[in-house]
């Protein structure tokens, strides 16, 4: 092992020496292409979320990379629910089937500890990518790349749950007057969940808008609902664990308030919202039946028709073009909610080529094209994306959209990311769905907290404490 490592190190030094003169003149993307040419003729197996996400490497970046370098990209499409499972299963079997991996940043501790991910620092230095990493928006850059001070992934998707609201209705004089009469303050994007509730109530009960119009809707399905809880819990002042004892604290007042608040809002949301997933919410929004909605960035583009209707055939026709305002959700610290990082599989036989493809994809020049692909789901994640002039003028208030995403990329809250994160999320999710099904929020969260403690004990308090401390020390683990 040490011999192999030193040989790689030697190779790196030589490559650096050879490439250094040209390096300064080139961009990171160009350097990646130059360095990758030596691997022409090989094929890289790249995992990607099945469906729309995968259209990017299938239609755009894959073919383009092959044209530039002669390296073929074989996209392995995996449904998001099974992406983690497949990644770890292939690693444990040591198949080396994948070279480049799409991983959700919250998985990095588990995958890194399992040895599935290749440390990237050496590659980053060797190919001169450090500087350009600095352009990645702070919340992703400082939080989603590294575990225990080693870089394992290049943040590649600016997922953040922002609040969409109907600018036209919020600006309407009649609504403004009626609202402030009733609640005693001006109608504006809500800054607290109490305001969110009241604004929801106002619009739901508004006779002018009819019985099919509702104040708000949020995603409520298992698998995603915990994101909404985690955000609200933390902006309420909640802490997941006691830093010293590692006892779970999700059943604190902050947690109960968050969960009870979510349930209370259901009365002003469409009937059956407890079962709504992203698509139901999105459809209601685009059909113009909601005053407010929380979602990832894409509806900002889709609401104003900035997409390829041919590929995104599931997206309803927008009735709200030109009427959409963007804000951070109440509390001002939005959950990042998944996202993707590009990581290199430790089992790959082509690690450097895989890394180079990642660097190229992730680079300023290429990524700005990728986040603007009319059919893809990658969202802006670099400061230069938010400030890109073309993007800022893509539709009427695209600049406001990008501004909001940028704000989210400063205050955004990390998804909980410790050891065996999925088990903790799952216990929490069960508590939430049980409460939606009628159980008392306090009792449900008490049970979840007890399960968290059992999990922690089994994993080992010290082991988990190390992972949690690493996570909690990141700037955006909790609101500032």
């Amino acid at each position: 092992m040490p011999l192999a490592r030193s040989l790689i190190g030697l190779g790196a030094t030589v490559a650096l020496a050879l490439g250094s003169s040209a390096a300064s003149a080139q961009s990171a993307a160009e350097r990646a292409v130059e360095a990758a040419k030596q691997y022409a003729g090989t094929t890289l197996n790249v995992t990607w979320e099945a469906g729309l996400q995968a259209q990017d490497p299938l239609l755009f970046s894959g073919p383009k990379w092959e044209e530039l370098t002669g390296i073929k990209i074989n996209v392995v499409e995996i449904p998001i629910q099974e992406l983690f499972t497949k990644t770890l299963a292939e690693h444990r079997a040591g198949t080396g089937a994948f070279d480049l991996l799409n991983v959700v940043p919250a998985w990095i501790p588990d995958l890194a500890e399992a040895g599935a991910l290749e440390p990237l620092d050496a590659f980053i230095d060797q190919h001169g990518y450090r500087d350009e990493l600095q352009d990645i928006a702070p919340v992703y850059r400082d939080n989603q790349m590294a575990y225990q001070d080693t870089v394992y992934g290049l943040p590649d998707d600016g997922d953040v749950l922002i609040l969409y609201y109907r600018k036209d209705l919020f600006a309407d004089e009649n609504h403004r007057a009626a609202f402030s009469d009733r609640f005693g303050y001006d109608l504006a994007p809500p800054e607290t969940w109490q305001q969110f509730l009241e604004i929801s109530q106002y619009f739901t009960e508004s006779e002018e808008l009819g019985p099919d119009f509702f104040g708000s809707a949020q995603i409520r399905v298992p698998g995603l609902i915990h994101f909404f809880f985690e955000e609200r819990f933390r902006t309420n002042g909640g802490r997941f664990f006691d830093q010293e004892t590692m006892r779970a604290q999700i059943n604190s007042d902050a947690g109960v308030q968050a969960l009870a608040g979510m349930i209370e809002e259901h009365q002003f949301m469409p009937p059956g919202v407890e079962a709504w997933g992203p698509i139901e919410t999105l459809s209601a929004w685009l059909s113009g039946n909601l005053a407010m909605m929380g979602w990832w960035p894409p509806p900002g583009r889709w609401s104003d028709g900035f997409f390829d209707a041919d590929v995104l055939s599931f997206v309803p026709t927008s009735e709200v073009a030109g009427k959409v305002g963007y804000a951070l959700p109440p509390g001002g610290a939005p959950q990042l909610a998944a996202g993707f990082s590009l990581a290199v599989s430790s089992d790959s036989a082509n690690k450097e080529a895989a890394y180079l493809f990642a660097q190229w994809l992730n680079s300023k020049e290429i990524s700005i094209e990728r986040v603007q692909l009319p059919y893809a789901l990658r969202d802006p994640f670099r400061t230069s994306h938010f400030q890109n002039e073309d993007y800022q003028n893509a539709w009427g208030n695209a600049n406001e959209y990008l501004d909001t995403l940028q704000k989210g990329a400063e205050t955004g809250l990390l998804d909980l990311s410790i050891r065996s994160t999925a088990a903790y999320e799952e216990a929490l999710t069960r508590a939430i769905t049980a409460a939606f099904g009628g159980e008392d929020p306090q009792a449900a969260l008490d049970q979840a907290a007890a399960e968290w403690d059992r999990l922690t004990d089994r994993i080992g308090v010290d082991v988990q404490k190390r992972a949690y401390s690493d996570w909690a020390a990141k700037p955006n683990a909790y609101p500032n």
Binding site: G51, L52, N74, K86, D212, P278, I279, P298, F314
Partner: protein, 292 residues
């Protein structure tokens, strides 16, 4: 209950008039009941199929839309454009081939079990115990084994697996059907000097035809519907129909149009196959032989 009756010639005019005949009245009632039941069972299928034609707004409309505004074939065109239909072919190959193997090896084994009591109850129970293993728990060990053998993402890997997982079903079903066949015909065929294989081919298989086809239908369907094995044991080459289907569901997407259209395409071959085969299933034995 009344349906169990002697077959009566249909449509024979009688002096009392058509409606006066009890058998004819019964037939009309059966048609009415059959139609109602079929409508109830097919309504969800209809609901799924019209997803292929609904606009995204119509999928999530309240009140729900029962008839799409436009029966355009765009959804189907998309499937062909994006290559999704290839997965139907993959599934036909894996499910079809494994059905042939499972039916052949399963039926001969069932014959042995039924007629010779081979291995006694123990063997039979060991065989059915293979269907007691929760598939979810065995996927990873299988994955390891297939990784060692280099069978991941291969047709033969899935075909072998589906054959194995359907064998218990085939053996037990066919054992039941074969036990129902009067043994005397086999006796006399052997006495007449037929070889044992000839007896199997020319006596047993034809006699068990109803059971064979009925069993085969579900052997195929079980293999066709498998998701968990196909998901883990494939990567890009052998993507089966159900695996492709799950790719239409994601965090930020649900392609109901494609799901509906794919369901139509995936259902039609099986529908026609069953329609063509059903006469074998219901014909039964009419030799008038005495049961042993």
């Amino acid at each position: 209950m009344t349906a169990v009756s002697v077959q009566q010639p249909l449509g024979v005019a009688s002096s009392k008039g058509w409606w006066a005949r009890k058998a004819n009245r019964r037939l009309v009632v059966r048609y009415i009941v059959a139609t109602i039941v079929t409508i109830i069972f097919l309504f969800p299928v209809y609901w799924l199929f019209i997803m292929a034609f609904k606009t995204p707004e119509e999928v999530f409309a309240s009140p729900p839309v029962w008839l799409p505004s436009d029966f355009s074939l765009d959804g189907f065109v998309e499937l062909f454009r994006d290559g999704d239909v290839n997965t139907v072919m993959n599934s036909l190959i894996t499910a079809g081939t494994s059905t042939v193997f499972a039916m052949f090896f399963g039926t001969i084994a069932a014959y042995s079990l039924a007629r010779f009591k081979t291995g006694g109850d123990n063997l039979a129970i060991w065989i059915i115990s293979q269907r007691m293993i929760p598939p979810i728990t065995i996927v990873f060990p299988l994955f390891l084994m297939y990784a060692l053998l280099g069978w991941i993402d291969s047709f033969h890997g899935l075909i072998l697996l589906y054959t194995a997982f359907n064998l218990p079903y085939v053996i037990w079903m066919m054992r039941g059907y074969i036990e129902d066949i009067p043994i005397e015909l086999e006796h006399s065929a052997l006495v007449d000097g037929w070889t044992r294989w000839q007896v199997l081919w020319r006596v047993v298989f034809p006699m068990a035809r109803a059971g064979l086809f009925a069993t085969a239908v579900f052997t195929f369907i079980f293999a066709w519907n498998d998701f968990i094995f196909a998901l883990i044991l494939s990567r890009t080459e052998v993507t089966t129909f159900p695996v492709q289907m799950t790719r239409f569901f994601g965090h930020q997407q649900t392609f109901w149009g494609k799901i509906g259209a794919m369901s139509v395409i995936g259902t039609l071959p099986i529908f026609f196959a069953v329609a063509a085969m059903q006469r074998f299933i219901v014909r039964g034995i009419s030799m008038g032989a005495v049961k042993g």
